[in-house]
């Protein structure tokens, strides 16, 4: 039996690696991947918390955390589609995707 704290600590470590990726990398694709990593760490924490909740009446397990994670995965898919479309457009108009060079809004 694994204590739930282990999962929470792992989730915190993964989230921090994601934050570090957003802070130090200059490639917007890698920044995007770091955001996915952070979403994933939060999902892991939610499933871990959900597995220690007492199950409701007549059920074998508590499902609210898992269903929430399901919605987070759907939102992440939508976010990636729009975000990558934006990156492709920026690359088409500027021929570079370095975040240091994206300092003005006007294309």
């Amino acid at each position: 039996m694994v204590p739930v704290n282990y999962y929470i600590i792992l989730s915190a470590v993964l989230f921090t690696i994601g934050v570090l990726g957003v802070l130090v990398r200059r490639n917007p694709l890698i920044i995007f991947m770091s955001i996915e990593l952070m979403l994933n760490a939060a999902n892991l924490a939610m499933v871990a918390f959900s597995s220690v909740l007492p199950p409701p009446e007549g059920q074998i397990q508590n499902y609210s955390g898992q269903i929430f994670v399901f919605f987070v995965i759907a939102v992440a898919a939508a976010e990636v589609a729009v975000g990558l479309a934006l990156i492709v457009q920026i690359f088409k108009s500027r021929h570079s995707i370095n975040v240091d060079e994206m300092s003005n809004l006007k294309g």
Partner: protein, 174 residues
Amino acid sequence: MSIDVLLFLILAVVSVATALGMLLSRNAVYSALFLVLNFATVAVFYLLLGAPFIAMAQITVYAGAIMVLFLFVIMLLGAEQLAPGEALPWQKPLAVLLAFVLVVETIYLLAFRGAPAGNVIQPEVAVNSVEFMRELGSALFNEYLLPFEVTSILLLVAMVGAIVLTKQEKGGQK
């Protein structure tokens, strides 16, 4: 040390190592492949936590769809490596320091102060149960029906948005 804890520790090492590999790779394609491996290990954690449906959704949606989209865009743009620019000299040490503070605070607050008691569910209780999927499905389509429908609208909007953003304008100034 029980076999569950041992399995957890090995997988935790793999997942942290692949996350660091994603962060430190110079080549964006390697980063994407490291991240696929990280998503796969997290899917195994979901199985250990008694969430087989989420584990399969993780594999198909994250490791399958999202990362393939990432690899497509990386190769389409030829953005494997960026030309080195002049970075701020104090940025990296400061970022590492702030990240260290963040992880210490998070672990202290979540895992020691507000310590949720107890162990995670026994895997075999959930994974081997036919009842699991029936109950999960009935919870999803009764209690959470409205969020489920809203998700479908969100996915439609994202699809239309992605098409509008990347479509060539006819006879426009582009």
